[in-house]
Symmetry: D2
Subunit: 314 residues, 4 copies
């Protein structure tokens, strides 16, 4: 480490500079805009080299270093980059968003100002059905005829809610109390500032297929349209070593290694030991962990040992 005193310029991300302030529209009336940022891929490298010494400097070596950091979860250099977004988002979605605690927030105040006159609406073909196998998910959409009725009753509810709000204000009710019955679908706005490490954590949870559709759409835009421009090397590493990865548990590994050495019977015995193969009246009972493992096998192009066996027996 040299004790340099050289004058420096703020690091820049030219591709992000090009879209600074631009609105990415989302849902029926939401948006995301980048309003400021600090740092770039080079800042990650610079911070890592404070820790690890100066090293080499070509772009390909920067890429290698960033990939190494991401692969080994050396996340502190990622904290050296910071981004500030201006968001417009339904309060219901914001309720999930705000649970990410390591961020800075200034939200539009409906205590101080009149609430934003917009609520998220749902088109007839956008009503999602409750998932059968996942108590907190949805799958597919309802028939459009049903959807039309639901959209119509949504409109009526929004109208009554806004009218009631306006009447309260007109009657002189304090804004802090008048707002109490606004629907959760009411839009709010906020400035949201977060470092890259915590943003990647947000994105890994909220770009996930289990995240609710609304917040997932925001996360997709933030990831693919904003972060990918801002810090392209870190984004690529995030896709390769976080988003595109799979975790194998101790149980997964033990069964996989039986499969790897070609011993299907041992694999089945392991699964029995783990309680994955309880028999019900119509074959194997549903078991969530087994299903998750079977999906991993499928991705790897490997056969499921107990299915093969039961077929073999059948």
């Amino acid at each position: 480490m040299t004790n340099e005193s050289t004058r420096v310029e703020r690091p820049q991300s030219p591709a992000l500079d090009q879209i600074l302030g631009e609105r990415f529209d989302l849902l029926d009336d939401g948006f995301v805009r980048v309003v400021d940022y600090m740092g770039s891929d080079a800042s990650i490298v610079q911070a890592a080299r404070v820790s690890y010494g100066a090293g080499t400097k070509t772009v390909s070596q920067d890429r290698g270093l960033i990939r190494y950091l991401m692969r080994h979860r050396h996340t502190t250099p990622l904290e050296m980059c910071e981004i500030k977004l201006h968001l417009r988002v339904p309060m219901d979605c914001w309720r999930q968003w705000i649970r990410h605690r390591t961020a800075n927030v200034n939200e539009y105040s409906t205590r101080y100002s009149v609430a934003i006159d917009a609520a998220q609406t749902t088109a007839p073909e956008q009503w999602r059905a409750q998932a059968a196998n996942n108590k907190q998910g949805s799958e597919g959409t309802l028939p459009s005829e049903q959807g039309r009725a639901l959209t119509e009753s949504e409109r009526a509810l929004h109208e009554l809610a806004r009218r009631t709000y306006d009447q309260r204000l007109a009657a002189g009710v304090a804004r802090e109390q008048a707002r109490k019955d606004l629907p959760l679908s009411t839009y709010t706005e906020a400035y949201w500032k977060i470092d890259l490490h915590n943003l990647f954590h947000f994105l890994s949870l909220r770009m996930d297929v289990h995240a609710q559709e609304e917040i997932r759409r925001y996360a997709e835009v933030i990831g693919r349209k904003i972060v990918a421009r801002w810090v392209p090397l870190a984004w690529e590493a995030f896709e390769d070593y976080r988003l595109g990865g799979r975790f194998l548990s101790r149980l997964d590994r033990e069964i996989l290694s039986c499969i790897g050495r070609g011993d299907a019977a041992a694999a089945v015995a392991k699964a029995e030991e783990f309680g994955w193969l309880s028999q019900g009246e119509k074959g194997l009972k549903a078991n969530r962990e087994r299903a998750e493992f079977e999906a991993k096998l499928d991705e790897l192009g490997l056969a499921v040992p107990w299915t093969a066996e039961s077929k073999g027996n059948g």
Copy 2:
């Protein structure tokens, strides 16, 4: 510091043990319950003595040490105490609550479960008027006749909102989407765990007269009925050195010291210099900082120099 290996028992707070699990009812359908805690006044003292050495041990010396810590904002020993509350609170109030980031939270999931069938209602005499001088406050209540109409329209809105929610569920809409138009007044529940230092910070903001009435009522119960039992010495110190204190700015101090040495003219000159005494058509223009200072003078039983003078001139 001794390297003791003595067996120990968990510190206890007998007065808090007596109310563990008990419900303190709030608003029309909210509550707070203590479900667990860690530490007591003695834990604060113990932690401070890791830092400052063993010292003495009588109760009066414990009290003196805790008061010293609070007075000098040595807050880390307060972090050694932790409390876990079970809350039932309107979502609108929860939106403010959750902004306190240094806490642990598990909230009831309306994605996973059907939303709680209760929304905060307002009695005819409880509608608060918008404050004239404070854009984010309320003062006084509306006449009860107006209140009756507002309460009636609140009832109608709650009814439609719940009916719409139920219809969506009946139609098979996913819970995560069906909830989108629930009113902010809908109750939610949560486990909320926080250390004593951060809880005092929460209380100093939310017991304040500028906090919104709903959250202030929760804060009052948490402070006066729960924390006061749990850690009575720390609570007393909090009342003396935080809640009951006032901050003097550099400007306040400069004027006060003119007053202290009896030089009213110098006090007025300072206030002029600070821009507090701009003249409008009907005397002094409104100035928020001056008004805050005048309130401090009033509490101290001191006359306002510029008022005295203007009276003298009049």
Copy 3:
């Protein structure tokens, strides 16, 4: 969720109660003691059920729920448990420890009190050699003859450092300045309080084979002797789904799926594409990511495609 008001008792962990205050000795003069805790396996379940609804109550179902939470990284219920340790640890080790920011700390103050008169010493056979392949690791130990000389010079340095410190104090130098040249090996003590989620994060990093030996030994004791007693179901899940797991990157998965479907040539082509198979003068160049992947293959009992091939070619 019921609005229960039932009186409750604080959750207990009987196996942890048995060792409360007991000292686990470490290194030559360090220790760890549990001085307080909050919550148990049951608290995790209770918090999860605030989110997910009441559900079932048998022990086997509690175990299943905790394992589900750990597998899916639903970590907030783990934050409902808290533990407070009393530590004695060399300052050099503490420098690493304190980097875990989400914890509460009171450390012995050498500004206020005379520094602890103990520094970590190294036996002749404990001097570790610099690792050849890992700039920040060690491997093996030095010959005992060399070790004896190093231990002797360590003793001389400790002696001079302490004598110098004592002379400063005797001369009336302020403790805050006298301490400035204490060796990093000087022991310090602290109370350290952390929630279970953040403790698991600490343990996953510090029980890792790449962690420095000194802190790893503390982490091992905290994990295997303390957490395993405190929350046995959560500990078991942590071993199965964190400690004992492996992460497959996108690159790993793509090659593995070639191997899975028996297409070794495709696997090699992928590795080429990823830049893992650059040829040097004596065969494949060293490549850290390839080496990591080969270790994963080895654990799974699978052959390395490029090695097999090169053997085939040889």
Copy 4:
């Protein structure tokens, strides 16, 4: 709030841009450099106006808003500004620094690289004496003759410590172990990134007269040479409403209000009630809280009632 989509530029602080990268030298071999920043006074205003609505736009109104925020501890808009410093600081000082947890850090790794070959040295006239009345402070300096001897023994200790370190490395000891006896005075370097709210908190504690001299000198430079350039309006407000302020406790206020209405006897009675006036053999016993209050009276130009009285009695 408008839904603007206008392209924006990153906010700049021209006065800070002028010194970006420049080294502020400190102690004998330390420094601070700004390497990056995000936001300016205008960013604070912008964030506050997301919360409070657009309002007015002149510079004097910006100043008024920032002063209002600071006075009322509305600190979230301050979190919208972020700064990154490159530091060189003795490890002993860094041990205090790192206790501020809400910051991002990358420190030079003596596990990975050879330790920096510099330790903080003390000139003969810089040895500070232990304070008589404050167990954790210093006051005055030692006579230069004594100082010369202390400086000489410091030099000898530094020399032996470095020689021992070098011998270990030469013998092949792992860097992670070789460093164990480096003196706390050894310099380290770090990148340290923090938001303005948390930086002000750091500065209010570390610019305080009770902070240790070494860290206070860093804090003074960061505050007066860096923050004052970066966000001049916020800095001015910080000086007026934080640094230059005094806190009056409930006890202080009660006595002051007796003094304010001219009732010295009541003031003395209050002080008695508070236990401030215990008599020892030679008059009033020392009482820290009373002494703190007397200092506040002194600053305000007010006489101490009990001293006046005792004089009257004498």
